[in-house]
Structure formats: structure tokens, C-alpha cells
């Protein structure tokens, strides 16, 4: 490897690295505004000036200068300091000094770097330039006077999000960042531009003026809005989660976060269940825990074991599902299911319901077949990965299902099962020739009656084209629910002779139906006595006879298994609302009342038990390497019929109880349905 000297210290670097990267590697910190590791290089802020020998006797922008063998780089000479002070002075000519009322204050790159390179006074007496605010949609609040034209936002939406809506118009002193005719940014990753903005020009609209960053208590936890399990830092002031920011996890979300995961926070405050309720004469009335648990226990013990059942919801932690599963098995019930969508997964080897290539690993695939899945709505960050793979030029993408705008080009094969049963020849050849082919199947293809046969056909196709090979497993299931893989891993499916979720909600199927945070299944036809344990007054609670208030995902510690099969530990950020309790503790209390006390008194004991019963849960943050399995054995051979595959998530902003309680999500959803007219106004 070539070697350069940074401030006199010899540093090895890889060919192609820039001077800035080499300096960073040597531990020299370089201030910057426009440069960002994951975006293309713009070189327009000039803050990263360094002195380089050999070279012209003037400071050079290190972010755009390729490093060379034998180069001498100086980052802390008097010349460098003076040059950076000059740049800073120019930046501050037009930047307003409104830090006390700026949302970015306290975590602002310009503020921080002005501490290092700012002069103590201004030599500029003229008026500062003023720029009109721009409308960029419900997630982005603009104060364009503060903009320093780094163009990070432009590059992000163009390169990563694949929605080239933002641009820089005019030039020189009049340059402005805007969208075309101030249309909202049509991206599900738009919130990231607020993170990227080094100043307070783009800030988070849903949280504007809600907090100062230094007031917040930060907790590192896991997102549950999709099945990727993005790593987040949930930040709370008092008893309220104020904001959610991404944490870096190269394997999952890199450093991005989808708008849904980010701006869900107001949903955590609204329509909350904060005390138990019992239905009396058709009306729900507030009750004590003692009374509510007593009613449920009486019903459970009075009913026949085969007349009680439980459905687990999409946002449940593994512990509460384990406790509930243990309780119902102890009661002798076989009616347990975590698949509200009625999917065919859950039998056979574990690899049959995992995203086996891994979220990062999918970039290695050379041909990807999407079946009944719209990754842009179901898992926006996976879609960003697919776009990245497509941009590299080494990956071809084929689609069976809906013809949606996925932000990259793909070959459209057909609408549904008919195409799958007889793949067009060019596509089949492409898959067969591929070195690392991958199939991504979504809930839209494998739920419903034809689910098992579609799954079987996919398995056969996977086997035929060699989706599973030495060191490569490209059979990928993209779940839409954060709880699903954990549920399937622990066997939260009907036992022998048990009813599935879809069967349980039929009229007359059960006497007692326990909904563990299950809001996405329509249980209105069921005439059973319904118990709802959950955090929000949503679909599940509306029809319930007893409501047991539980904790939302930011209010309990829990394990979640993402679609790759990676177990991650979420932490409690704030306490549950009012009288609400941790979900597992409610189930544990209930078990005592029905006389089947569960053998754990603390979360630790419950986890120990879970890990003992299902060892995969014991490997936190671990992604298993590609493992071969008999993919052709999945599902059941049968007639595929002729159905079109529709994405399992028609509207990502309204597909769980927290999202439905959020005003921001409602706004985003409205924008999806009726995009603002583009005509000149």
C-alpha cells in the first residue's frame, strides 16, 4: 500500500483514497461541511483546506484531492489555520446569528467549527442576504437564510433516495436550495436531509421548537416500524420521546432512517391506553387491574382449551410473545398464531422465513427477482440498498407483482402467479446464468389461499436457478412486521390441530380470543370474548371486551428479530403511560390468576428461558452466515391459480396502531394518495 505523511507521521492508505480520508486515518481531524462519506464529493465548502507537498504553495481542498505516494500532508500549520479562518469568515458573512432560536443550535457543525476557526468579531457591516423559506413537505422545515450551499441534501435525494426533487437554482450570491415549484420531497427517506444538513437550514418539521438537544436523554434501541430492525437512538425529555435519530449499523440501516421510523414519535403520545377497561352492557368502562385480570382469568379458565386462542401483533417483543405462548400452551390451547396476514411461512427450517443473504449482503447479488413485494413501501432502507446495487451496474432487478416506481430501473415480468408458473425465457436464462441470484419474496405473494403453493413454486425456482450455493443463500423473505421472525422462531404458530389466525376470527370459532397487540386482523366477525393487550386504542381495542394497557416499543426492554434473523435488544426509553405495564408482566400476572403461574419472575429469567428453549435468541446482534437448506421443500405443491401479487403494505404510513395515531403519518399518507398538483400556480 502507498504511504503518505500526515503531519510528519507515515500513514498507509489504499489507492484511490482522498487526502481527507488519509488524514482521518492518521487521526487528524479535518473540518468539513459539504463532504460526506456516503455521498459523492462536491468540494464546494472549502472548509477542509490542508497544505500538501509536493504541490502548489497554496491550501488545497482535501476532500477532492487524491492522495499520492510520498505526499506530505499538513493539517495544523499556520497557513491551514489562516485559510480555514478565511473560509469560515466568508460562510458567516451571510449566515444569520440566530443560534438561540435555531433548532440545530447545540448540534450544529457550523457552530462547532466556528468555535475552532471563527474570528472573535465580524468585519462585515453590510446587510446579510435573506432567502425565502421553501416548502419541502411535511418532514422538512426550511430556514433557507441559514443555508451555506453545501448541497448535501441535493446529493442525498439524488444519489441515495433516488428521487431527484431537490436542486440548487440560480447562482452566486443568489443560489438557493429548493424543490421544483416547492413540491414536497416525494421520498420515504426525506428526513435524512435534515440530519445531513450541517446547519439549521433544513430541520425536522414535526419536532420544530420542541426541544433543545442538550435536554434530551438518549437511549440506544431498535426500531419496529418495519422488519429491518433499524438501529435508532430514541431521545426523551421527561416522560415523552421527543425524537428518534438513526444510529450507524453498517449491516442494516447504514446511517439512514426512514421517515416512518423517525417521525412516528407523535403517535407514541396519542390515543394511548393508560388504564384497563372492561365492557359492561356494550360500553367500555375504566376498571382496576385487579378487576380486569380477574374477568379475563375467569373467562379463560371457564372455556374449553380448544375454544381459546391468541393472535400476536406486528410490533410485539419476543418476551411477551414467549410468555403468552407458554401460558396458552399451559392452558392446553393449540390456537396460537403470529401471522395476522395469513402467510404460509412458519413450517420447515428457519432459513425458510429469513432474509438469508442479509440486508448488506443483497448488494452482492447480480440478479434479484422481487416477487409480490414493493421494497420502497415495505422497507425503504432495503430499497436504498437495492438502488445502491443497481447503481453499481452489476445488479439486474426483475419484478413480478405491482409495477411501482422503485427509484431504479427493473425488468417487469408480470403481475402474479401466472408469470411465476411460467417465467419468460430471457428472465429464466438471466437467473440461471447469474452467479449469485437472489429472490426477495414479500407477504403479498405468500399470504392467502394460494400462499403455500406460491411458496412451493418459488422454492422450486430457487433450487432450479441455484439461489442457494456454496457460501451464498439468496432466498430472501422480506417481512413487514418487526415481531414476525421472532414469533416464527419460537413457534408462535398453530400447534397440531390448532386454528390459524384467519380461522380464529371466524364467527363461532372461539369462546375467548386474546389479541396480543393484534390490530391488523379484522376480528369483528368473531363473537368470542375478546381481550386486547396493547398500547393504542386502535382496531384491536375497539371491539375488545377487556382492554389491558401495555407498553409501546419505546417503553419496554425487549428482543426483536429482524427479517434477516438478527436478534437485537431494544431498551426502555420512557416508562409506560399511566397504569400501563410491560406486556410480559401482564401475561405473567394473568398466568397466576388462571392457576398456571409461568416460571419466571423477572425479564432476565424470561429471557433465560427463551434462550434455553430457542438458542437462536441467545445470539444478540449476530447474523448467521449463509446456510444451505432444502428450499424446494417449502410450502405445499398446488395450483398457483391466476392472482396478481399486491404489496402487503399498500400504505406504509397507516399500517400499525402507532402510525395511525400519528398526525405526521396522516400527513405523509395524504401526500401519497393525492400528490400535490404539479401545474404552475
Amino acid at each position: 500500500m502507498p504511504i503518505a505523511k500526515v503531519n510528519g507521521v507515515e500513514t498507509e492508505f489504499e489507492p484511490g483514497m482522498t487526502v481527507l480520508q488519509v488524514a482521518e486515518r492518521a487521526g487528524a481531524e479535518i473540518p468539513r461541511f459539504c463532504y460526506h462519506e456516503r455521498l459523492s464529493i462536491a468540494g464546494n465548502c472549502r472548509m477542509c483546506l490542508v497544505e500538501v507537498k509536493p504541490g502548489p504553495p497554496k491550501p488545497q481542498a482535501s476532500c477532492a484531492l487524491p492522495a499520492a505516494e510520498g505526499q506530505e500532508i499538513f493539517t495544523d500549520t499556520a497557513m491551514v489555520k489562516k485559510a480555514r479562518e478565511g473560509v469560515m469568515e466568508f460562510l458567516l458573512i451571510n449566515h444569520p446569528l440566530d443560534c438561540p432560536i435555531c433548532d440545530q443550535g447545540g448540534e450544529c457543525d457550523l457552530q462547532d467549527q466556528a468555535m475552532g476557526y471563527g474570528r472573535d468579531g465580524s468585519r462585515y457591516a453590510e446587510n446579510k442576504r435573506a432567502v425565502e423559506e421553501k416548502n419541502m413537505g411535511p418532514t422538512v422545515k426550511t430556514f433557507m437564510t441559514r443555508c451555506i450551499q453545501c448541497t448535501r441534501c441535493v446529493r442525498f435525494v439524488t444519489e441515495v433516495a433516488g428521487v431527484p426533487d431537490i436542486g440548487m437554482i440560480s447562482r452566486g450570491e443568489d443560489a438557493e436550495i429548493t424543490t421544483y415549484l416547492e413540491k414536497a420531497v416525494d421520498s420515504e427517506l426525506s428526513g435524512n436531509v435534515n440530519d445531513l444538513c450541517p446547519v439549521g437550514a433544513l430541520t425536522h418539521r414535526p419536532w420544530q421548537f420542541h426541544y433543545r438537544p442538550w435536554e434530551l436523554k438518549r437511549t440506544e434501541t431498535i426500531d419496529v416500524m418495519d422488519a429491518l430492525g433499524s438501529n435508532i437512538s430514541a431521545q426523551a425529555k421527561g416522560a415523552e420521546v421527543m425524537r428518534i435519530l438513526p444510529r450507524v449499523n453498517e449491516g442494516i440501516n447504514e446511517e439512514w432512517l426512514s421517515d416512518k421510523s423517525r417521525y412516528i414519535v407523535d403517535g407514541l403520545q396519542k390515543r394511548r391506553l393508560d388504564r384497563p377497561y372492561v365492557r359492561d352492557n356494550g360500553r367500555l368502562r375504566a376498571a382496576s387491574w385487579d378487576e380486569a385480570l380477574g374477568v379475563v382469568a375467569a373467562r379463560l379458565t371457564q372455556s374449553q382449551p380448544d375454544r381459546i386462542g391468541v393472535i400476536a401483533g406486528d410490533l410485539q417483543d419476543a418476551e411477551s410473545m414467549k410468555a403468552t405462548l407458554d401460558l396458552f400452551r399451559a392452558l392446553g390451547s393449540a390456537n396460537t398464531d403470529c401471522r395476522q396476514d395469513g402467510s404460509a411461512l412458519g413450517v420447515g427450517p428457519r432459513e425458510g422465513w429469513l432474509f438469508n443473504s442479509g440486508i448488506a449482503g443483497i448488494e452482492q447479488a447480480d440478479v434479484i427477482l422481487l416477487v409480490g413485494v414493493n421494497p420502497r413501501t415495505e422497507a425503504p432502507l432495503l430499497n436504498a440498498r437495492l438502488r445502491k446495487a443497481w447503481l453499481s451496474g452489476k445488479t439486474e432487478i426483475l419484478v413480478i407483482g405491482e409495477q411501482a416506481d422503485l427509484t431504479y430501473e427493473y425488468s417487469y415480468l408480470g403481475a402474479g402467479s401466472k408469470t411465476l408458473s411460467k417465467l419468460p425465457k430471457p428472465a429464466a436464462d438471466l437467473l440461471a446464468k447469474a452467479e449469485r441470484p437472489a429472490i426477495i419474496v414479500g407477504g403479498g405473494a405468500i399470504s392467502g389461499e394460494a400462499g403455500p403453493s406460491v411458496l412451493n413454486a418459488l422454492g422450486a425456482l430457487a433450487k432450479k436457478v441455484g439461489v442457494i450455493a456454496e457460501g451464498w443463500n439468496g432466498f430472501n423473505v422480506l417481512h413487514t412486521a418487526a415481531s414476525r421472525v421472532a414469533g416464527l422462531d419460537m413457534g408462535f404458530v398453530p400447534a397440531d390441530g390448532g386454528l390459524s389466525a384467519v380461522q380464529m376470527v371466524q364467527t363461532g370459532a372461539l369462546d375467548v380470543l386474546f389479541l396480543l397487540g393484534a390490530d391488523e386482523i379484522d376480528a369483528s366477525a368473531s363473537d368470542a370474548f375478546k381481550v386486547y393487550l396493547g398500547s393504542h386504542g386502535d382496531n384491536g381495542a375497539h371491539g375488545a371486551d377487556v382492554i389491558l394497557p401495555g407498553a409501546a416499543y419505546t417503553e419496554k426492554a425487549g428482543l426483536y428479530v429482524n427479517t434477516e434473523g438478527r436478534v437485537q435488544m431494544a431498551e426502555r426509553v420512557v416508562f409506560p403511560k399511566g397504569e400501563a405495564k410491560d406486556d410480559w408482566a401482564i401475561v405473567r400476572a394473568l398466568s397466576e390468576r388462571v392457576g398456571r403461574t409461568l416460571p419466571y419472575d423477572s425479564l432476565d429469567q424470561l429471557r433465560t428461558r427463551l434462550m434455553a428453549d430457542h438458542p437462536t435468541f441467545g445470539r444478540i446482534d449476530y447474523l448467521a452466515p449463509a446456510q444451505a437448506f432444502d428450499v424446494a421443500s417449502l410450502g405445499k405443491k398446488g395450483d398457483l391459480g391466476d392472482t396478481g401479487f399486491v404489496s402487503a403494505v399498500p400504505d406504509p404510513y397507516l399500517n400499525n396502531p402507532i402510525a395511525r395515531a400519528s398526525a405526521t403519518m396522516a400527513e405523509l399518507s395524504a401526500l401519497r394518495i393525492a400528490p400535490v398538483a404539479m401545474a404552475a400556480e
Partner: protein
Amino acid sequence: MSVRRLAKIQPDSFAFSKETRAKCDWWIAKYPADRRQSAVIPILWLVQKQEGWCPEPALRAIAELLGMPYIRVLEVVTFYTMFMLEPVGSAALIQVCGTTPCMLRGSGDLMKVCKSKIGPKDTLSADGRFTWQEVECLGACVNAPMAQINDYYFEDLTAETMGQIIDDFAAGKRPEPGSYAGRHTSEPMGGALTLTDAALYDGSAAKPIKTLPNSEPAKVPA
């Protein structure tokens, strides 16, 4: 220069005329198919030629023609000041050069005439037939002061000739472009002083070329 914005009042639609479209295709054909957005500036010129200015629906039409995002066309059209974002005079768009040489030679007087005959700068006249602007150097300093009117340079102007030209345009005439001081292009006043020998131009001074300059390898000194 001030902030450039799209006009408030915009037409409902835009369509390429047959000729414009044919010329667009000629430009597009110059670039590889996946790089056809390179033709954006020539096509903006063509649209401006067709409409007199660049209306917003045209920007979208161009973006769709070239397979590029709308915002990218907006970036280009707002960057270059030669693209008119508002309707301009149907008879004449007068661009008076205001840069130093022209200013020293009296461009201020030209602007005064424009102001009195047409109205305020950068504004369409009341009858919709004239617009005048002050622009930066147009590169004809030797003929200062000058103005570009529509596609042509009018040079060596005075307040009187400027007024006459505006009146001519108003009357529907097409005044001659070029110098108004009675000289040919930028020759000295009163005619050329050098290169006047007629033999330079009848071929008699020409000699056959024996070798092309620099066609031999350089001789390396021993």
C-alpha cells in the same frame, strides 16, 4: 443581478413547434442516448427562440424530452441569465451593456433613453412590445457603448441613435445592426490604417508553402 424566479403568470401548456422539434432532435442526436440531457442548453435556446422566453410548462416538456428531473432543467435555466424567465417585448428585447468600457463611453445615456421611451428596467413595457435590461459585458468594448437588440449588436450608440432605433422598432421597421458611428465593424474611425495594401488580398503576395511549420521532429542538440 437579482434573484431569478419563474414568472407568476404562466401559460397553461407548451408544445414544441414542428421546426423546433426537428432542431431538438438534431441536437439530441449529437449525444449518446443515455447522455441526451447534454442537449438541455441548446434546446432551451430553441424554446426561447420559439416562445420569446422560457415558460414553466416548457421546462417540464424539455425535462420529459430529455429524460431528466424537472429540477435539473430549472437549475440550468435559472443559472444562465440569457434565458428569460418572464415574457419579453415582442418588438425588441434591448440589452444595454453597462460594464466599465461602455459605462465610460456613455451607456448611462442609453439607459436614460430606454427608461424614458420604454419604462423601468427589466419590466415589460405597457404595450408589451419592449423590454430593456442592463447586462454585463457583451464583448464588444471597442465599439462601446453598445446594446444587443434581439439577436444583433448595435454599436457606437449615442442617446440620439438609441432613441431612433427604438422608434424604428416601434414603427415595425428592422434597423440595421452594426456600428452607428459610420465605421466598418471595429475598424478605426475614418477607415483602416494598416493592412491596406491591395496586394495582400489579390493573391500576388502569396508564396507556395514548402514545409508545414513544426512538421519536422525537433533537433536535439548533440
